[in-house]
Symmetry: D2
Subunit: 379 residues, 4 copies
């Protein structure tokens, strides 16, 4: 067992549960330079926070995130709240010298994200690390895709097509949640799902989106909310065209209305030498096409469960699949390693800001008759 | 054997070969009211046209399409030439009282297509029939998809996503063809591939596209051409967002640079009760999702080879697959049946015009910074 | 057009329809040295045979197969009848100096098959050719599989697993057919389906089965037959273990009770360097695994539609699928080519006899408590 | 947190790692009546056992399993050793009144398994519980398959086909392991892999295998072993036909030589109303065919990630996949629940004995020319 690092986590819903599992498990599988101690869990409701802390294995509970950040037994703050509080908590934690892992999307606005990226850069100079939780980068198949692109295996990228399809809003009778309120979530499918595919596309290609043309839609504008009706103030779906700096063309779609698609985060990249395709619903597989394979070329269904595949060596023999939560365990391993090694982890807050700018450009374009909208470095 | 109808076909390349097969075979499988007689094949080169006529089973050959159209033994003119001659031939044939089957896209410009649609409507009043050859409507799986939508099995449509992916231009060393010259082909991937998915999407949903936002790209601007170099004057790829009159959102992509995708004409439709997905590379299958299936819901891989599936009763027992050329045989059967029954077949030239307007709007939008461009009824 | 060869075909049910299509079409796609002339169709019922001849394009009809065989305008006899008449017709045709294509299984008994193989060998010495119609060898994907094995791409074979699954007898209310009567069909699923996978396994591996252990079953012993009930006297399903002369292990299953599997003729071969897998329900695909692919190894989904794949050059561009009947057109092309070239085609009647011996060993083993039963060269 | 139960686990290799994870995690996700305390880890090498205990979170280490069993802080003994020590440890633990979870196969011989089943039955009368670790029963898709069969959704079972394919011995240069020594492992692929598919087939169908016909093979008889060569004394592959008491036919294959198949534990069941198919390499999916689906019937790809699917409610939202180790966490949950509720869990040692008898019959048949061998209740 290595030296311990105290973790304070704010939020104990879906993301809180899966992050807890990662902090509990990471050192059981990875040789990390720091062993996480689940010091304190933060939440607003004292009773529910205490219950969650017990269930998930946290030593203490706090209802005031500022108190959590200030605790001496906390060296790392993990932000699992809705987007409206990310900036405030992250800025405070970085100022207090705490390492910060922040759920995606980084913030609800570009301005917030800019402030966070600036603070992160300043903190890094002091040895304080920060990372945004684009966990899909830690799917072994996606990390392998990145590796293959880096090795030049697919050549120059021509096309990217990315969708993130869910269906839990297909039924108009599904009730309101904070995810459908702009003031809490920032945006709808765009920020929740679109953020992931924008990051994944930029990560795998090693390239940046320079402009978009977009349309968004809210199919169902009001939903049951307790005894009444709540107004949906975010997008239900967002579709956009994109251009990468290399000249590659991209198409993107994020929706919660693709009936039958449960978590179809899909990415395909076509290059001049090969192609790659991924679907999270078969997350242990990567489809790889190589033009070099000649007359028996075809998309290879690579089961990404070999010891020499990214992250896999820590787990089971070939063909013994990994699941969703492993991506968070990998994220924790990478963050702890970066902290221990004294280097900046990726994706950085600056990476998160770049995604935020794409999301903002999507909204701008959608508000201006889909007119092509460029992503500036400073907006 | 039913009464014969003399067919004159112009063009004997890829489309000519497959249309010949359809005219030779249709009455062997379908109970059509008219039996096609392969009267005359038209082509520009006398030697090659004669050879093709012999190979494909045509009784005679003509090098002048006007002579072909004028022949007494021709009652049906089948146009398999590049798009630049469709309008001229079709107008002459309709004026001569000949039924016309015309390959897609209907024409190279909206103006030509308007003239053709007007002529077809006028001819129909005289009992002369015309049809545009969107053969993918005759894939049994796509016809089944249409049937399921008509029956209300997927409810109200929310999303359409359609791609038509090929890869034969991925290699910059691939030579020039007429398909890369604007004056012959009208457009590139857009008209060749995009036309099919626009028609298929409108056909399956029973709905029309009302506006688009688009980008096009020519990745490789010159290619080997004999001893020299030829300039590519069409798009290599076209991507666009679309809105249907029902409010459904669509994304479309047509490209010849998706390495590893050989003929991936794919269509997915998500509705409020179910979803449908199709990929031509598995053309005997339709994926069908029904929200009514409860805890064991999932996309059904329907093998569209049952006797009660569209067109299939004419062929083999379940599980004995059909291929690409069957779509043309089905097309011939439908056209002969319409002629025999004295009714107008679908897709009509008016349907072809509607597709043409969408293609034109795509080019307009792409030329105007992707600004949203509506598809008018008269442009 | 090359020199004509007159074809006389006996039988006009399912096989007759598909063979007719092959004889009508083969020279339109393949450069065959002989052009088939559809001279005469044989059948027992004069009215139905005449109708079938007209529908399928045969110049004449005969109700006596002996008269058909004797006709001067017949140089090739194609036997599409149930198995109980194969031997008699084939022996007569070979004796009359007519080339013979015979549907599978070659015969209903080993004794018949032995007589046929002997007659074929004797006829070959006189330049008279014969072939048994194991059409699955002419699926391009299976022919490609054979090519890859021949090239050593999968190394030494360890395992073969083959199933042929249909489901049309799942319903006990399905009526009797000649296929369920031993005196007509010889056996049930074993001869109808099992024969195909035995031949395909031996063909792809280039190896012979030397012994089997088997069990057979008749799940439903009587079925509706007109106004009465008919007794099912053949197997509904046959399962067997096999050993190849190389030492490879095989498992085989043929059944008409695999609900949901329509024509799942599947073959997988595992070797020391690679593996191959095929499923007729996706007949345009071959799955190819190569251990040489290293960290991105995976089963390649090879779309067997490239011009350099077996038979495919005669057809359409990549990704434009072929169907069931193409296998018969390929068979006709190969047979005509062999006749024209004066060589013996494969699979020969001797190959058909070898399959017959395996089927007989399966029945023997099943009748003797599954005891291992070797396949002798002369039994 | 509920009352604690002290766990002592013997063995810390692959199975030890994954069982440790289950004991650490189960109460974080499931409402179990007892919370496991990782009291003591047993192993032969003191240094490595201590290291493993630290890594996996065990409070203490023991090198003598008898001492481990005797400890007061151990109420549950988890046996993760090779098969040669299962019986001895289990008998001692049951005699000491400790609940026992034993890895599969239950034992190396039928005699050992009989003794264990008898001891388990006797212990159960004293309130001491035992379970054999057929973890694949706890794959949600397999548990769902069982549920669908129980509900009558597939009708009467006609066919079972089960394979368990791995490829880690394909390379003759792979070194010796204890798994290739009969005295340690009992058998090879048969006991390691075959045991799983025998159990799964019996579990899903709710039926028992009554007889088999089998063949086994050792392809590579000696392998590198340190500086020398070791003799492989177990089977590399086992294939067998089976009959279930209902009359259903089964085919089974277990091998470590199916190149490209990493952990393809596959099961298909065909019934009179429907069919089910599973492949562990896509472990979050179950293919379900229902004859009731009419013209749009097809195998449904059910993503078994819905809250109302077995075990899934404890985890993530739909489409967020589970992995291999979850099956052990489910196993732990079920065992703790049975202990807490005072009922006998399944699969019992008697279930393990039934599997052992099938394995023994396979070996007997293989030794007697594949002659049909029945599985008696007392052998």
């Amino acid at each position: 067992m290595t030296e311990e690092i105290g973790v304070g986590m704010v939020g104990h819903a879906f993301m809180g549960a899966v992050h807890s599992h990662a902090w509990r498990s990471v050192h059981r599988f990875f040789d990390v330079p720091l062993t996480p101690r689940l010091a304190v869990l933060g939440g607003r409701d004292p009773v529910r926070t205490k219950e969650a802390a017990t269930k998930y294995g946290w030593a203490a509970a706090e209802t005031d995130w500022r108190a959590l950040v200030a605790r001496d037994d906390v060296q790392l703050v993990d932000i699992c709240t809705p987007g409206d509080t990310h900036a405030e908590i992250a800025l405070a934690a970085l100022a207090a010298g705490k390492h910060v892992l922040c759920e995606k999307p980084l913030a609800n606005t570009v301005a917030e994200a800019e402030a966070m990226a600036a603070a992160a850069e300043e903190a890094a100079a002091r040895g304080v690390r920060s990372m945004v939780a684009f966990n899909y980068r830690r799917v072994p198949a996606i990390a392998l895709a990145r590796r293959l692109v880096e090795e030049g295996r697919i050549g120059e990228v021509r096309h990217v097509r990315a969708v993130y399809l869910q269906d839990w809003l297909s039924d108009p009778a599904s009730p309101m949640t904070w995810r459908l309120r702009k003031e809490k979530a920032g945006s709808g499918a765009l920020g929740d799902l679109g953020a992931h595919i924008v990051d994944a596309a930029q990560y795998v290609t090693g390239d940046l989106i320079t402009g978009v043309s977009a349309t968004t839609e809210t199919f169902v504008r009001s939903r049951p909310d307790g005894d009444g009706v709540g107004e949906v103030t975010v997008d239900d779906a967002a579709v956009f065209l994109a251009r990468f700096s290399s000249g590659a063309l991209g198409t993107f779609e994020a929706t919660r209305y693709a009936l039958g698609r449960k978590n179809a985060m899909r990415l395909e990249v076509n290059g001049t030498r090969g192609s790659l395709a991924f679907d999270f619903e078969s997350m242990n597989e990567l489809s790889v096409y190589s033009a070099d394979d000649g007359p028996s070329a075809g998309f290879r269904r690579v089961l990404v469960t070999e010891a020499d595949h990214p992250y896999v060596g820590a787990w089971w023999p070939p063909g013994h699949l990994l699941g969703y939560e492993h991506t968070f365990t990998h994220e924790a391993a990478d963050f702890l390693t970066a902290i221990g090694d004294g280097v900046d982890p990726a994706p950085s807050f600056a990476d998160g800001l770049r995604v935020q700018r794409v999301l903002a450009a999507v909204e701008d374009s959608a508000g201006q008759q889909s007119t092509w909208t460029t992503i500036g470095e400073s907006r």
